[in-house]
Subunit: 345 residues, 2 copies
């Protein structure tokens, strides 16, 4: 993957050299950043707002496969995944810390690519990179991101506020990231069997990007503010719609009903799922990594949101004993199960 | 190390089961914690104070060796190391996030030990554990800790505020953690060569604890407040005195002079270093992991601090062109070099 002859060994640069180099490519622009990289801790001041904080750990071989994930995309995605958690609280992200552990097999240029992606995501979302840790790793690449944001205390949206009769909404479309992953996995297998065959991803840009370069939905938080809608509960779709809606229902002590026909699935996602012999609805329910926002609103807010093409109303909240069910296109009722994701299998 | 017959496989529990289990052992006590584990992000409110944030990544085989580090100590130390950065800003730590990546070779009981250590450290230092991420790892154990704290904006102490004539002070004693590590490494080698020989650490508790179970110096922050001393600069000793004093001087654009005879070294550290054929002063300068606080104060504050047995005045700040030098016990002058630590060698 890397041409070592032309690259710079990290062993020559050392940790402090690497930090200096990273620091030079970072600008501080967020007003609440009092102090960024270069001291024992970053200093942030959010006045009377509530501070939000979220953290993710991404490990090579578990969360990403460097055989088809470009490092710049990986840096970009690592930031997006984390910002998405702040938006899922109805907050605005303002800072991140970005830590990496990497083995000496990675040349400096690889680290620069990774940070270039992270910094691009920060710029695009008006977020300051204010700290982190760089470390040697005996094994693969390790990335840890923590994001910090704020919200008025009256705006912060938890998972536990859904009420009976509330409408269940989701932004964008679902299942694309999972189908994109299947495509990348197939091309990887073909490449491993015959390295002369070039990957065939033509015309599949949308779903490949959904997997490699997701965009956190800050715009949805802004839209809700403009429409003067305070969601009653909210979560981001990282593990799949089924798992997320069950989180909202469990934490709110409620049940729900979803309509299969209302679940937004992009046409390319649908067609490609079919090519792979997959049920597109299952991809949306269990695929994950779409980083859309799933939220509930009061029925009285429906008029404000119904014209927005980017928000789909996919069901409603019921009392707890009703359970969590999906009404299929054929009109049958199926219990929603937490296929979720068991990292230890 | 683990008896798998009696232990619980993590694969049976799953990620959500593991989070539930961790959550049950955590109490929220810090007033500024609005919301802890269980949503997309923790919510923290620090009023008009400045929020401090610091993060560390700890990787198996680089930062710790599970052949002699008990998991409970590791969890404890991972938290201490991170809190130390908040204290080094002259702030009070209030929350942490604690993330782990671990392979399925670890039974549930191992994870519980790790968290038990982390939670013990939180309790002892009045810090809330408010979030984190748990993940599978293909290889070794990965720990990522982020700590959050606060301080009045007038109290926050950066690395760059040292002025010519300021006194250089350090808390506690130095070099012990490094000498403790040498001891543990020696016993590991003996054990690897002959597993029937029991480790001989008798009477060496102090230096072994300095390595395995360091204590971040929150008490020094409190002491400085009581004495009404605002340090002009401060850093924690993680990489060794030499590296840290050079950080203060570089960021303050100053030089310094340290006196070898003033560097606080515990008697057991001194004697054990000698046993290993090591120069105790070099252990203090380059050993690292002591997690003491190194800070500078105005000369006018000397009277307030001189009676405190736990604080040593070890030198003073000079103008930049004077360079950074150590006066040896024999009266010679040696330039201080950043032996620091090059993680990629």
């Amino acid at each position: 993957m890397f041409d070592n002859k032309e690259n710079t060994g990290l062993d020559k640069l050392g940790e402090f050299g690497l930090i200096d180099l990273i620091n030079k490519s970072i600008e501080i622009k967020e007003e609440s950043t009092v102090k960024g990289i270069g001291d024992d801790a970053a200093v942030i001041q959010h006045g009377g707002k509530q501070t939000l904080i979220s953290t993710d750990l991404l490990l090579e071989g578990v969360h990403f496969d460097l055989r088809y994930v470009p490092l710049k995309h990986l840096g970009y995605k690592a930031v997006q995944v984390n910002l998405s958690d702040i938006y899922a609280m109805n907050g605005i992200a303002t800072q991140i810390t970005f830590s990496i552990g990497l083995s000496s097999k990675f040349p400096l240029e690889a680290v620069e690519e990774l940070y270039a992606g992270a910094i691009l995501a920060c710029k695009k979302y008006n977020v300051d990179l204010v700290g982190g840790d760089t470390s040697a790793s005996k094994q693969g690449l390790v990335i840890s991101v923590t994001s910090i944001g704020y919200a008025d205390s009256s705006a912060v949206t938890y998972r536990n506020g859904a009420e009976e009769g509330d409408l269940i909404c989701v932004s964008g479309d679902l299942g694309g990231a999972y189908v994109g992953l299947q495509l990348l996995e197939r091309e990887k297998q073909i490449f491993l069997e015959n390295p002369n065959i070039q990957p065939d991803l033509e015309g599949k840009d949308y779903i490949v990007e959904r997997q490699l370069k997701p965009e956190a939905r800050r715009d949805v938080v802004q839209l809700l503010k403009e429409l003067q809608i305070k969601p009653t509960s909210m979560i981001d779709v990282s593990d799949g719609l089924a798992s997320e809606v069950l989180h909202l229902c469990k934490q709110s002590s409620k049940g729900c009903r979803l309509y299969e026909e209302k679940i937004p699935i992009d046409q390319m996602t649908y067609d490609t799922a079919r090519e792979f012999g997959l049920d597109p609805t299952v991809c949306a329910l269990s695929g994950g990594e779409d980083y859309e926002l799933l939220f509930t609103i009061k029925q009285s807010d429906y008029e404000k949101i119904k014209g927005d093409l980017d928000i789909s109303v996919i069901g409603y909240i019921m009392e707890e004993n009703a359970g969590c069910n999906l009404i299929s296109k054929s009109g049958n009722l199926y219990p929603i199960t937490a296929q979720g994701w068991n990292a230890f299998n």
